[in-house]
């Protein structure tokens, strides 16, 4: 299942419905279909705009912005989705570091999901990535990462 994280927003592109069910069961989080992708419940409800101080998800927005999707609004507000808390958090509130292991065309993530905002070996926050979740071994293979 493809995992596309854009500015801290998760989008999943399963090949089969079974992948969605297994993922939801493993992470104890339901996935909701939005357009051509699945995402976490609280992300599915986000609008593609924010008004400064008006709640955007669970946080007051820090800027007024309209984007092509909620991920662009999250970028402008410096928010990322916290998988553990199931909430939006300021990106600077995410601490921790994960070392991605290079393997052929992929980078192997030691955890099944990479929490956006975690820092790589260079100390920079990875906020976007494109990868493949392998349900058979609960492994995440990341093709590329971005720091914005």
């Amino acid at each position: 299942m493809r995992v596309l994280v854009r500015h801290g927003h998760f989008a999943f592109f399963p090949k089969t419905a079974k992948e969605v069910a297994k993922f939801a069961s493993y992470f104890d989080q339901d996935l909701v279909r939005v357009d051509d992708y699945y995402t976490f419940e609280s992300l599915a409800e986000l609008p593609r705009y924010s008004i400064m101080i008006k709640p955007f998800g669970n946080l007051p927005a820090i800027t007024t912005y309209e984007g092509r999707g909620p991920w662009e609004v999250m970028r402008e507000n410096d928010f990322v989705y916290n998988v553990g808390l199931k909430l939006l958090v300021p990106k600077l509130a995410v601490v921790g570091m994960v070392t991605l292991l290079r393997s052929d065309a992929y980078m192997i993530c030691p955890t099944p999901l990479y929490q956006p905002g975690m820092r790589d070996a260079s100390g920079r926050q990875i906020l976007s990535y494109d990868g493949e979740y392998m349900p058979e071994n609960f492994q995440l293979k990341i093709r590329e990462v971005s720091y914005e």
């Binding site: 705009y49 008004i51 008006k54 912005y65 309209e66």
Partner: protein, 126 residues
């Protein structure tokens, strides 16, 4: 792609969902209170008021003024006809000026009042 939200504006402050949007550019005079639409486009925000009430009031005042002008002109014609029809003879003619000029003066006053109301409206355009 942009997003339109219902909004209002009072004293130059744009509100949407009760939340002020100070970054919104008001595309009108923005003096009088109004309701309208907030357009968001990336980091830009524009407020467009519904100016139909302004237009409605303006047209109503203009119609009132024109009606009064029309009535005044009709009264003037009537007065001129009265002068033409004055009886000749030894007896003094019946006074006709007051009756006609009162109606003409009243119409002129109504036109002046409509002008004043339009001047006020101009100062508080939405």
């Amino acid at each position: 792609m942009s997003k339109a939200l219902p909004a209002s504006c009072a004293a130059g402050v744009v509100l949407t969902g009760g939340i002020p949007v100070p970054s919104a550019e008001i595309l009108s005079s923005g003096v009088g209170p109004s309701s309208g639409v907030l357009i968001l486009d990336e980091d830009e925000a524009f407020y467009i008021p519904d100016t139909t009430p302004d237009l409605d009031t303006t047209l109503a005042q203009i119609i009132t003024a024109l009606t009064q002008v029309s009535q005044a002109l009709a009264q003037t014609v009537l007065a001129l006809n009265v002068l033409d029809n004055k009886p000749l003879g030894a007896l003094p003619p019946v006074p006709a000026v007051t009756a006609n000029s009162t109606a003409i003066t009243a119409a002129a006053a109504a036109v002046t009042a409509a002008t004043a109301q339009l001047t006020v409206l101009k100062a508080i355009l939405k």
